[in-house]
Amino acid sequence: MTLSVFLQHCLTGISLGGAYALIAIGYTMVYGILRLINFAHGDIFMMAGYFMIFAMVSFPWYVAIPLVLIATVLLGVFIERAAYKPLRNAPRMSIMISAIGVSYLLQNLATYLFTALPRGYPTIPILKKIFQIGPLSASLVTFITPVLTLALVYLLVFLINHSKVGMAMRAVSRDFETAQLMGIKINRVITITFAIGSLLAAVGSILYFTDRMAVFPFSGALPGLKCFVAAVLGGIGSIPGAMVGGFILGLGETALVALGYSTFSDAFTFVLLILMLLIRPTGLFGEKVTDKV
């Protein structure tokens, strides 16, 4: 393998990893606040794919993209209101089961509405333009994905560490009831969390499907599961962790494909999960407990 081929594969891997990272952040943020694994998150990502297909029918891409982002955010927030909020005081297992239910609901709703046949993902001309940097050539989306991911993660971490609402999010994630005693409106914080998670999933979906060309009702299932693994790898609850986890998975899968073991690229993800859970269950950047009693 020559150096340029190697670099080409790295670029592909980083790009795939970037899309994974954006979705993984949604899992990790919701887990951080509600201690809920939002199994419907992968399907929100899938729905964002369909939204794009329909938006691009009638609008140019620069109108379609904001529309898709808004629609996905509304979907995510609506799901939280309808399926999770009524269970706020229920045992954690109930809300988890509700999440699994929403996941199946979205998959079957999509099958019912859009049929199970894959639909072509619209091409956003500017993203598909081929660029050449030295010996590397790839479409713009491949270059843009990791850059956009890093920028969004930086922005998000900044927001969480330096804004009032970010401070409220950290407080809620640590201690629900005490956060309430401070006058924090818990439901508002949770809504914002779902909105951010869904927004990033929508961005991830545009980047991911532009490279994949087709959407079908189950195209959120496996990526969703993988991104959940990415979040666990990085240490669920940690945003930089989710990003690193996403990149590790993206690079690892691409490496296996490049070496000719593409059959094992999905298995790789789950082997990695098992190894991580055995060796370091809290993940790479898992919560450290600094409490003194």
């Binding site: 409220a168 005693l181 003194k292």
Partner: protein
Amino acid sequence: MENNAYLKITDLSVSYGGIHAVKGISLEVPKGKIVTLIGSNGAGKSTTLRTIAGVVKPKAGSIQFDGKEICGKSPDDIVSMGITLVPEGRRVFGNLTVLENLKIGAYVHNDRLDKYLDDIYELFPRLKEREWQLAGTLSGGEQQMLAVGRALMSRPKLIMMDEPSLGLAPLIVKDIFDIIKTINAEGITVLLIEQNANMALKTADWGYVMETGVITMEGTGADLLANESVKEAYLGKRKED
């Protein structure tokens, strides 16, 4: 008691976690006073405070603050009205810095906090020194100071404290009670829950004794301190034969 009750609870009943924890209690806290509620573990004291703060919903009864009904209001409304609770076990946000913990105490306010922070640092110089430290790294006593400071940042009219002396060294317990008196002297009404009945009754203007969800006795701190059955049950003194 006097008629000018600032906080007035009437026939309050609360079920919590499947237990009928508070069974129709009535109590009053006059403006500018320190009132204490003593009683053993599981008597329903914490549930009472958490109901006033709005995090637990009552089954029946009324809670009036400054003449307005607050029963059923959300916790953020209650904080905005000037009631704050220092929860049992301090519950500082260990993943936030000391400064952030104080800022979050003022979450319902949107103005500049510098002046209020200075007031807190004057009361607790230790917190100023540790401003940038994560709250989880503070000692128990410092965490309690932070929890009180955080509550004061909401600019309360009534501060409720749930076992502020729990698990602290005797010297620090004395500090905590001095601080309670200081806060009260600044015009903030105090409702205090304590297992350390001795200190609480010495500090308080008025005391209530709570047992398994009902109030069994009330009186001035001094009266209750002198009462034989209170002595026996809460002050660790035996009746003389």
